[in-house]
Symmetry: C2
Amino acid sequence: MRTSIATVSLSGSLTEKLTAAARAGFDGVEIFENDLLASPLTPEEIRARCADLGLGIDLYQPMRDVEALPAGEFARGLRRARHKFEVMSRLGADTVLVCSSVSPLAVDDDALAAAQLSELADLARDHGIRVAYEALAWGRHVSTYDHAWRIVETAGHPALGTCLDSFHILSRSSGPKDLAGIEDIPGEKIFFLQLADAPLLGMDVLQWSRHHRCFPGQGGFDVAGLVRHVLRTGYEGPLSLEVFNDVFRQAEAGPTAVDARRSLLLLQEEAGIRTLPAPAVPTGIAFAELVTHDAEPVAALLAGLGFARTARHRGKPVELWERGEARVLVNTDPAAHPHTRLRSRGGNHLDGTVLTAVGLESPDPAAAARRAEALLAPVLPRRRAPGEAPLDAVAAPDGTELFLCATNRPGLPDWRADFEDVTQPAPAAPGSSAPAADSGGFRIDHVALTQPWHHFDEAVLFHRGVLGLDPQESVDVADPYGLLRSRAVTNADGSVRLPLTVGAAPGDDTAHARHIALATDDVVAAARRLTDAGGRLLPVPANYYDDLAARFEFAEGELETYRELGILYDRDACGAFRHCFTHTVGRVFLELVQRDGGYQGYGAANAPVRLAAQRALR
Amino acid sequence: MRTSIATVSLSGSLTEKLTAAARAGFDGVEIFENDLLASPLTPEEIRARCADLGLGIDLYQPMRDVEALPAGEFARGLRRARHKFEVMSRLGADTVLVCSSVSPLAVDDDALAAAQLSELADLARDHGIRVAYEALAWGRHVSTYDHAWRIVETAGHPALGTCLDSFHILSRSSGPKDLAGIEDIPGEKIFFLQLADAPLLGMDVLQWSRHHRCFPGQGGFDVAGLVRHVLRTGYEGPLSLEVFNDVFRQAEAGPTAVDARRSLLLLQEEAGIRTLPAPAVPTGIAFAELVTHDAEPVAALLAGLGFARTARHRGKPVELWERGEARVLVNTDPAAHPHTRLRSRGGNHLDGTVLTAVGLESPDPAAAARRAEALLAPVLPRRRAPGEAPLDAVAAPDGTELFLCATNRPGLPDWRADFEDVTQPAPAAPGSSAPAADSGGFRIDHVALTQPWHHFDEAVLFHRGVLGLDPQESVDVADPYGLLRSRAVTNADGSVRLPLTVGAAPGDDTAHARHIALATDDVVAAARRLTDAGGRLLPVPANYYDDLAARFEFAEGELETYRELGILYDRDACGAFRHCFTHTVGRVFLELVQRDGGYQGYGAANAPVRLAAQRALR
């Protein structure tokens, strides 16, 4: 099926919007009238630009307050329509959207509405144009899709059909049985299908529609379910995104258009009309990679945590540090530093140590990469230098490199093969102790990836759709200078957990460091080891522990230990969570966590205290 | 009455919040528990800090899910409460807020609620503490103030009273008769009064409360009406602001605290419990002042518009340009340039020509300044140099200097007296024509003041409360890169109009230029004069005029004239509006407007086209 996007869904000038839509691979666009009016290009020039870009103009929109009006008003509406049809002829657009009247002059008279729409359709037909009549959720008398369809049916005019819009339908829907009626409409009378999702906000529907629509899969609507109903009618027109969203209005058009088309590809897969390579859900975290100009502070921190430098890359200045199953790559190659690679706005303080890549264990790296590529993720060069293993890797929307790994699996390229063991121990950092003899149960519990402000929902959809991870509940966390929003994506057994976090405003994407959380079976021992080695943990205010004492009962001495080391505590219905934080090195810090009894969260209740303590140190 | 503010209403660390509250003149604070937990200060140190700052700790909050619970849960609640009361004793706080239970375990049993709150109050009394019980609007069984009061009355415990919160009451209120019941509560049983306003959003009340509260006078609630009811009970406790607001969480605490206290002062005046100097509503715009490093481009523009350089300041490099009643000061004093004076964030491109001051005709400049000072507006030095007229002036929240003028009024200081007439005509700018012989009906129609992102509601309240101007409807305007919000403040006859506009995100405060709109009785003649003199007007796309033809009927040739000159057109129920825009000089542009038949707006329908055209030139 054709895919389209309304120009109002993207930022910038009309030219910028068209270019972004074409580059993302859309087949067509809906031209939003205000974008035409504000453009210095003539309709003929816009038509030519679209043709050059390979874009059809699938819809011109909107026409408002045309039907069910007193005669004088209707005559004025026809006059406006004649002008618009002339513009559309110059554009080469053959379908116009007419929204149900909101005018206080409109009357509740379906016969009049049908008669006037017929008259409009006569005029349209003379210009070779079709009229797609849509019920706005806040229409004065016509606000449901079935009501709009009854009027179209009554009119019985070949140039008059209906337009279905998932927002207007699903924002009012009381359940699936509302939607079954869609299948009673003949597909050839559905002239257009506009798609948008939205978070379930329970707010005034007009404001909800104008500010909070989002791309399918990023909200709470079952858009795919609606599409399935529409397809059963025989509808063969485009799937078109019409999204009004305050964030997209500000974001760059190019990435937004890619996000938009990825959403439609996933929707088509979900609706059963497109086959994509199946997801190969990651089964573990192979490693996290830090890039730095100065390895010493990171090395000291890792050594203090009992990591040993076990190997180095054969061709690049990259060292592998390990403890148990936890692996961290420390990369000092200046060319790897993401000064310009990571997408970032505002401050852009991406100097110092940064977290740039995550290795994900994949049951089928090549298949995972094929799916990512089909879903418009940039696929990174497989073999970067002669002799290196041909590793599959893709870039996430934020620029993070995701390596699809097959560690120690015969017959598959192994990232570990690019490393040679270091026989002598790494030179001990000042005050650090020898590498831990036992593993301490160490593994990477989660990697927290701070996202650019404009791209949070895109990131969640990417990790769900491309990697097959499950988004968890979204939580708001109070930082002293604004609210953060955080949502983890995980695999089913929790062996891959990637909390995605976004700041309170543009520019905040660089205000919060990323971090690697290391799971251990004894967080007290791990924390004490670090402090004994001269390392420092984030200091936690005494007031926090006084409050913990009021909230939970602890064994003798337990709370004193937490207080001494700066260990935070949380509990849910399943179990307990103990965690503490290292100081921040550059733009990265480490967390030590101990999960007991099946605790599933990330200590969100403690985040305000942690964030305030980190702010206090800056 | 005492004034207080909840620490959650301000950004930053607890220390920063306390300092900001004290500097703004609050008498006390509500300590929000999370602020205490995140603070490295002990309760004793916080108590001492407050004492040093002259702040009382009027409330400790919140305690949740205490009442109407099964015995085991209640026992755990009492254990938590005992710890909290000990913390409160260390803080020296004597009142605790208890919110009605939201726990799914809570039962609908007022007798049980009363009995358990009595038991809690026993424990509180032993610590010298009072319990203020508040109905959350989303409480599980208790969600109205009268229900909470009935439970408190049933308990009949001297250490148990109620807390009234304007948000929880007014967000659920169906009208004034709901509120009359407040007066049935004995004042001494109202232990606390929390105040917040909110825009009328019609959304889920919990989200509305957590993200969109604002200071009284900045939303849609009749907070003063509620306060009047409370005062009739004999309540003598503090008026305390408790505002959860995503913007305030990010804004600097200092200015937010001043904004907060100004709101309370105005609320007290409105409730009849504080007398402030009466407003002296401005009666006209005396001048607008531009500061620039290079006067030539501005001078050329003014000359092209028929302005003449008529006078210069006796002591400073400031020139007066006039046409009719429109006066523009051009100031080339480097010391006047607001590189650092105007509050600005992000890009901070305040170089080039900027609009820094507005002269407002005042019926009583000294009284107006006294009111401004009483409302915490910085009063600027009256006489800046020997021999200058002693002019009253205050700074608006955005740093704009507002001069309170008495032009040509005997016995009052006159700004014009600081200027000496220029006898010879100003040297004509290249291509400019001689000053216009007739006035063309020129006067300043409006001065559009772009506001910093975090301070929009503050600016509206300032202009309303301090100057006595009336806020008009708020409108959203689509710029190609985000939505702008605009709201004009005006006097009754429209001779003073100040549209306040804010961008879509922090940093956008510098993205949009300010402008001076000049009213004329013949915008076509004024526009043609400028272009004939070689000046340029903002080019408007042809598509805009094609659409105008569809929307309105014009006299023969009229539309062609608008098209030729770039004049935009709008119409409302009263009349017509024609306007056009000059190119931007530095960070300022001029607009020519013609209002006919009582048109009241600012051409908001044309703003997206204008903004896109301005973006295209950048």
